[in-house]
C-alpha cells in the first residue's frame, strides 16, 4: 500500500541542532502569513507520522546568521484537543509526538485587534514550561482602530517577551525571530517531553480567563475607531434573503470556474499526455512493456493530472473565501440545511469539493472536528456528482436521450443531466441522514464558530496555499491512483488473447473473465456482459469506462470526449432501458478505486472503505434495477 510522506525534519548540518520554534495561535490570527514571513519559500509540507494532519515546517536565518526550524501548528483556542488538528498542536507543543522534538520556544501569534482569548491561550502555553514569545500581529490594524496597547506592561504582566508585527508586510518579523532565538538560547536544553501539563477544567479556564481579562483591561484600551466595516458587510452577507442569494451566486461562480476555466488547461494536459504517449510508443517495440508504459503508467498519470486544473481552481476559491473571512459565514448560512441531514455546517466544504472530485472532498473533511460528523461527511461525499462522471453521462445522454425540448423550454438532455446531479445530491444527504439519525443516534456536535473580521486577501498567502494543495493532491492521490491504474492495467491486459483471436483483447483478460463471471449478477439490472466488462477498467477512474467501451465495441481511439461513432454504436447495441439503468448505476456506484484508497488513508482503516463500497454497490444496484424494470415495463426494453 502506498503511504503518505511521513514527517522527517529538514536535513540538518551535522553537529549543532538548530533551535526549534513552534507557532501557535487562535484561528484567523495571521499565523500562516507569519509562517511565510519567517521562512520565505523554504517550506516543507508533509504529514505527521500516522495521522492525516498536515505538518508545515520551514527554516529561517536571521541577519546575524542564526538559523532555526519553524513549525506551523494548526490554529486552536486551547491546548485541549478536540479535533485531530488540535491533538497535533497539543502533542507537538508538549513533545509527545513520535519522531518530533519538543520545541525550544513557542511563539504565540495573536491578532492584536482581538486579544482577549489569545491572552488566555498565552497563559496556558506559559504553564507548559517552555519559553513563550507573544507576537501582536496585525498591529497596523489595531493602530488604525485606535486601540492603544501597552506592550511593555503586557510583557511584564504576562512574564514573556511581547513584540509587535505585521506579518503580511514583514514588519517586526526579523525582531520576532531574534527574540524567539534569544528566549530559547537563554533557557536550558529542551526536555524530551513535558509531563507536567494537564487539561484545564472549566474552573481553571475561568480562573485563567479572569487573569487574562484583568491584564487585558489594564493594558489594552478600547478601540476608539472600532471596525464597523465587518458589521456592515455582515448586514448584507448574513441577511436571511440577500445573504442566501449571494451565497448561491458565489457557489454558481465557483462551479462555472471549475468547469469552464479549467477546460482549456485540461485539454492542454490531455494533449500533452497523448503526445507523450505517442512519442514513447514510437520508440518502444510493440508488446507488453509498451502497453504497460503507455496504457498503464502514462495514461494513469495523465488521468490524475487532468483533474489538477479543476482541483487548483476549486482550492483557489475555497482558500480565497477562507482568507477573506467568508467561509465561516457560508457555514452559518448553510448550517440549518446541512443540519437536516445531521451534518455540520462546515460539511458543505467537503461536499462542494466533491463536485470536482471526491478525493479533495474526502481530504477537506478534516475541517470537521467531531469524528462521527467527519465520517458521515466522508461517506456521503462520493455520491456528489464528480467531474469524472460527466464524461460518462455526456456520452450516454448523447447516445440515447433525444435532443428535444420538453414543455417548449427545457432541453430534455439538460434535464436528464440535471436529474442525475440532483439524484447524487439527494442520495448524499439521505446517506448522511441515515448514518446520523438511524445508526448513530447521538445528538450532533455543537456548531460554535468564530466569525473573523473581513480582510483583504493576501494573494501571496493564498497562491502559496493553493500550490501546496496541488502538490499534496499530486503526491498523495497521484501515487495511489498510479498504483491502482497499473493494477487495473494488469487485470485488463493479462492474459493476452490467444492466437487467431477474433474478439477484442480485453475479452480474454482477467477483466473479461470477471465481467462474464458477474454478468448473471448484473443481468437483472439490464447490463450485457460487454457493459459488465467495461465496469472493471472503470474502477480506475470512472471515465476510463468510455475507453473500455470503445475497445469492446472495437471503435478506434480510446480517448474520452465527444464520441459520435461510439455513441451510435452504443445506441445500436443497448436498449434504452439498459442505458438508463447504466446512468442510474453511475450515480451511485462505487466506481472509483482512488476514492476508496483515500478514504482508507483518511479514516485509518479498511472498515470505512469497505462499508462505502458495500452501501454504494447496494444503492447502485437497487437504483439500476428499479430504473431498468420501470423502463422495460414502459416498453423501452
Amino acid at each position: 500500500m502506498v503511504t503518505a510522506q511521513t514527517a522527517t525534519p529538514l536535513a540538518e548540518d551535522a553537529g549543532v541542532q538548530p533551535i526549534r520554534i513552534a507557532l501557535v495561535g487562535n484561528p484567523n490570527c495571521g499565523k500562516t502569513a507569519m509562517f511565510n514571513a519567517l521562512t520565505g519559500s523554504r517550506q516543507k509540507v508533509a504529514n505527521y507520522a500516522g495521522v492525516t494532519v498536515e505538518r508545515k515546517e520551514g527554516r529561517l536565518t536571521t541577519q546575524d546568521g542564526h538559523t532555526a526550524i519553524v513549525l506551523d501548528l494548526p490554529g486552536t483556542y486551547s491546548l485541549r484537543a478536540r479535533s485531530p488538528d488540535e491533538v497535533v498542536t497539543r502533542d507537538a507543543v508538549l513533545g509527545r509526538l513520535e519522531g518530533e522534538t519538543t520545541p525550544d520556544v513557542i511563539v504565540c501569534v495573536a491578532d492584536a485587534t482581538n486579544l482577549r482569548l489569545v491572552l488566555r491561550l498565552a497563559l496556558e502555553l506559559k504553564a507548559v514550561g517552555r519559553p513563550v514569545v507573544l507576537a501582536l500581529n496585525m498591529i497596523d490594524i489595531a493602530e488604525r482602530q485606535g486601540r492603544d496597547i501597552d506592550v511593555e506592561g503586557l510583557a511584564s504582566d504576562l512574564g514573556v517577551p511581547v513584540l509587535t508585527t505585521v506579518a503580511t508586510r514583514r514588519r517586526g518579523v526579523e525582531a520576532l525571530a531574534s527574540a524567539a532565538i534569544a528566549a530559547a538560547s537563554a533557557h536550558a536544553t529542551a526536555p524530551s517531553s513535558i509531563t507536567g501539563w494537564t487539561e484545564p477544567s472549566a474552573a481553571e479556564l475561568r480562573r485563567l480567563h479572569t487573569t487574562a481579562e484583568r491584564i487585558f483591561k489594564k493594558r489594552v484600551r478600547e478601540a476608539r475607531r472600532p471596525d464597523t466595516m465587518t458589521g456592515r458587510i455582515d448586514d448584507v452577507l448574513l441577511h436571511p434573503v440577500a445573504g442566501i442569494a449571494i451565497l448561491l451566486i458565489v457557489l454558481f461562480a465557483m462551479f462555472q470556474a471549475v468547469f469552464v476555466v479549467a477546460k482549456p488547461f485540461m485539454d492542454l494536459i490531455t494533449a500533452a499526455v497523448t503526445a507523450l504517449s505517442a512519442g514513447v510508443a514510437m520508440v518502444l517495440p510493440d508488446g507488453l512493456l509498451k502497453s504497460l508504459i503507455c496504457d498503464g503508467v502514462i495514461a494513469g498519470v495523465g488521468s490524475v493530472l487532468v483533474f489538477l486544473p479543476q482541483i487548483m481552481i476549486l482550492f483557489l476559491f475555497i482558500i480565497l473565501l477562507e482568507d477573506v473571512g467568508y467561509m465561516a459565514r457560508a457555514a452559518f448560512l448553510l448550517d440549518r440545511v446541512m443540519g437536516f441531514a445531521g451534518l455540520h455546517g462546515r460539511a458543505f466544504i467537503p461536499l462542494l469539493s466533491s463536485f470536482a472530485c471526491a478525493i479533495p472532498g474526502v481530504m477537506s473533511a478534516r475541517v470537521i472536528d467531531n469524528r462521527r460528523d467527519r465520517l458521515t461527511t466522508i461517506m456521503a461525499a462520493p455520491l456528489m456528482t464528480c467531474s469524472a462522471r460527466i464524461a460518462v453521462y455526456t456520452l450516454i445522454i448523447s447516445a440515447f436521450i433525444p435532443d428535444k425540448r420538453v414543455l417548449g423550454v427545457v432541453n430534455l438532455q439538460g434535464l436528464v443531466f440535471f436529474s442525475l446531479y440532483a439524484a447524487g445530491m439527494i442520495g448524499a444527504l439521505l446517506v448522511a441522514w441515515v448514518m446520523r439519525r438511524l445508526i448513530w443516534r447521538s445528538a450532533s456536535e455543537p456548531f460554535l464558530m468564530e466569525l473573523p473580521a473581513y480582510k483583504r486577501p493576501e494573494l501571496v498567502v493564498v497562491l502559496r496555499s493553493v500550490a501546496q494543495r496541488g502538490q499534496i493532491f499530486l503526491t498523495r492521490a497521484g501515487t495511489t491512483i498510479l498504483f491502482m491504474m497499473v493494477l487495473i492495467w494488469f487485470v485488463c491486459q493479462l492474459p493476452g488473447p490467444p492466437p487467431g483471436a477474433t474478439e477484442p483483447a480485453i475479452n480474454y483478460s482477467f477483466a473479461g473473465m470477471i465481467g462474464r463471471a458477474v454478468e448473471p449478477l448484473l443481468a437483472p439490472i439490464g447490463f450485457s456482459w460487454q457493459m459488465s466488462v467495461a465496469l472493471i477498467p472503470g474502477l480506475a477512474a470512472r471515465e476510463v469506462a468510455i475507453g473500455a467501451l470503445g475497445a469492446i465495441y472495437a471503435v478506434s481511439g480510446g480517448e474520452s470526449g465527444g464520441h459520435p461513432l461510439l455513441a451510435a454504436n452504443l445506441a445500436h447495441h443497448w436498449s434504452m432501458a439498459s442505458a438508463l439503468a447504466f446512468l442510474a448505476w453511475y450515480v451511485f456506484a462505487p466506481q472509483c478505486a482512488s476514492t476508496l484508497a483515500v478514504v482508507k488513508r483518511e479514516t485509518g482503516s479498511w472498515i470505512w472503505p469497505t462499508i462505502m463500497f458495500a452501501y454504494m454497490f447496494a444503492l447502485a444496484y437497487t437504483a439500476a434495477f428499479v430504473v431498468y424494470r420501470i423502463a422495460v415495463s414502459l416498453g423501452m426494453g
Partner: protein, 101 residues
C-alpha cells in the same frame, strides 16, 4: 445554579438564556452552565469548556446580531470584540442579564 433561579428573586428572574433572545437582544453574561439533558453530543463539562474557550464567560457583553433563515437558527452574536456563530441549542447554556431598555 439552582439558587439563582428562585422565582421570587426579582433581580435575578430578569435573567434569560441567550437562546430565547431575538435579533437585537443584548446583555451581560451572568452564568454559563450546561444542563445535562442528553440533547448534546458532548458531556456538559466539555461543552461548557468549549463555550468558555471561545469567549462565553461571565461578565462578557453579548448581543444577537443575526438570525438564520430557517427557524431563526443558528444565531450570530457579538461577544465583546468578537463575533461568534452558534445554534440556539448551545445558546441555552448561556444565561444573560439583559441591558436596560
Amino acid at each position: 445554579m439552582s439558587e439563582l433561579c428562585r422565582p421570587n428573586d426579582v433581580a435575578l428572574t430578569r435573567e434569560t438564556t441567550l437562546a430565547d433572545g431575538r435579533r437585537g437582544f443584548s446583555g451581560v453574561i451572568s452564568a454559563v452552565s450546561v444542563q445535562d439533558d442528553a440533547s448534546h453530543a458532548l458531556d456538559p463539562e466539555e461543552l461548557e469548556r468549549r463555550l468558555l474557550e471561545i469567549g462565553f464567560v461571565e461578565g462578557a457583553k453579548v448581543k444577537i446580531l443575526h438570525e438564520g433563515f430557517l427557524g431563526r437558527d443558528p444565531i450570530v452574536v457579538s461577544l465583546d470584540d468578537t463575533r461568534v456563530a452558534l445554534r440556539r441549542r448551545e445558546a441555552r447554556a448561556v444565561m444573560v442579564r439583559p441591558d436596560q431598555a
